[in-house]
Subunit: 151 residues, 2 copies
């Protein structure tokens, strides 16, 4: 089994925001959308249509807890949720693993740790590429800490 | 209340695939991704974190029923699900209304009614713009009919 989502590197645990029974919530490496998160299902399942009812119900609670925390931490205006799993299909034998990408969207700039986070496409589809330089490790740690404080 | 999702034009009912208690499933106007659907919540609610448990549980059933039908109808390989609601925030007084966009993805071309549907970015993020000419009304009706036959 070569599924990368099943084998999240130990060092990424520094960015774990919270672990629920069926889902884990991590701050994403990409932070152009301040507070962007990656939410893998804890078991290996390949599509939303394979989820169990208890996994959907827990996801409901995750949306409540996470959206409230990021609104409180940084004043996010809304949240874009997407379950895509395209990259898995670049492999000859795809092993998709259900996960969500959450991009908080902002109607104005946010200053944090000397950086300015902007959402130049607010009101429109998120930009798929990064629209700012990579956010330093220490700042990402601080973003994660701030969200955890608001959970 | 100016919410456009609350006021779906009567003529769009020709593209209704099925109505559940809490969600309705329509074939989208945009069909570059063959079988693309638009799934509004039947009541007005502004974010995923406001959904009731029974709405999540019914969504689970919608994913099962819809993914199976589109796989059967056209051989879709996987499905991209997204809940964004950005356009609502172009208004001075946003009235977001929860809805999903579902883009079936295909690892090869599909011929239908004399048209060729391709997925040139397969294995990667969907293209936000349309990558083929608008699909004629009669062909969209046929696509909807074909999915309904597979439900």
């Amino acid at each position: 089994m070569a599924c990368e989502v099943c084998q999240i590197p130990a060092e990424d645990e520094a960015f774990l925001l919270f672990a629920a029974e069926h889902w884990k919530v991590y701050l994403s490496f990409k932070q152009s959308y301040l507070g962007r998160c990656f939410i893998p299902l804890r078991r290996h399942a390949g599509s939303l249509s394979e989820l169990y009812p208890e996994e959907w119900l827990e996801l409901a609670g995750v949306t409540v807890r996470l959206e409230a925390a990021i609104r409180k931490a940084f004043g996010a205006t809304l949240f874009n949720w997407a379950c895509l799993m395209n990259a898995a299909y670049q492999e000859a034998e795809p092993e998709p693993h259900v996960h969500w990408h959450v991009r908080p969207r902002y109607d104005g700039p946010v200053e944090l740790e000397g950086l300015r986070f902007e959402d130049p496409a607010f009101g429109h589809h998120y930009r798929n590429g990064e629209h700012m330089a990579p956010v330093p490790y220490q700042v990402r740690l601080r973003i994660a800490e701030r969200i955890r404080e608001c959970l």
